[in-house]
C-alpha cells in the first residue's frame, strides 16, 4: 500500500481549483463534504478529500489524488508515494499556475476590470502567463 503525502498549497477557491484541474485535462469529482480516497485495489483509505481525481483517471496502478481544505482555508494536495513520480512538484506547480490564472480572471471580473491583453511566454521551466486589465 502506497502511503499518502499531504502537500500545502495557497489555494483557497474550490471553483478555481476545479477549473484549473479540468484545464490540465483531469477528470474531477467534487463532494460537498470530504469523502475517503480510494487506493488502487479499491480500498478505502483514511485520507479524505472534497476535490478528487479518481484513480482510474490517474493511472492503471494509481490511487486517488485528492485536495482537502484545511482549518486555515487553504487546500492541501493528497498524493500517494506511488503517484508522486508523475504527480510531484512539477505537476503541482502547473496546478498552482493554472489556479492563479483562473483566480486572477475571477477577481478582475468581480472588480469590474476588462481583459485587454493575454500572453503566454515560453520559458526554460514552462511558461509565464501575463494578463493586462483596464478598469
Amino acid at each position: 500500500m502506497s502511503a499518502y503525502n499531504e502537500i500545502d498549497t495557497e489555494i483557497t477557491d474550490r471553483d478555481c481549483l476545479v477549473e484549473a484541474l479540468q484545464e490540465l485535462g483531469h477528470v474531477v469529482q467534487v463532494h460537498e463534504t470530504p469523502v475517503q480516497l480510494e487506493g488502487y485495489h479499491g480500498d478505502k483509505r483514511q485520507q479524505r478529500a472534497d476535490v478528487i481525481i479518481p484513480r482510474r483517471h490517474v493511472g492503471s496502478m494509481s490511487n486517488d489524488i485528492g485536495f482537502v481544505k484545511g482549518a486555515d482555508g487553504k487546500y492541501k494536495a493528497i498524493v500517494s508515494d506511488y503517484d508522486r513520480s508523475r504527480y510531484g512538484d512539477a505537476w503541482l506547480n502547473k496546478v498552482r499556475q493554472a489556479y492563479a490564472a483562473k483566480k486572477a480572471l475571477k477577481l478582475a471580473k468581480h472588480a469590474g476590470m476588462r481583459l485587454v491583453g493575454h500572453k503566454e511566454i515560453p520559458t526554460a521551466k514552462g511558461k509565464r502567463i501575463q494578463y493586462v486589465f483596464q478598469k
Binding site: E10, T12, N93, R96, Q97, A100, K103, M113, V132, F133
Partner: protein
Amino acid sequence: MAKLIVEIDEQGNTSLDVVGAEGTSCQDLTKAFARMGKVVKDRKKPEFYKKSGQVKVSRGR
C-alpha cells in the same frame, strides 16, 4: 488610462504591475487582488510618490 499587468510564473507566484497611474490610485487597481494570497514583496514605483493630477512645472531663469 491605467493598466494592471498580472504575471503568473511557473510556480504559480503572481506579480502585479500598474502602468500609467500616479499616486495612490494604483492601489485602487491592485486591492481587488488581495485575495490572490500572501504578499511577499510590495515595491512602490516612483509614480506612487507623485500626486495624482499633479501638473509638472518647469521654471526658466
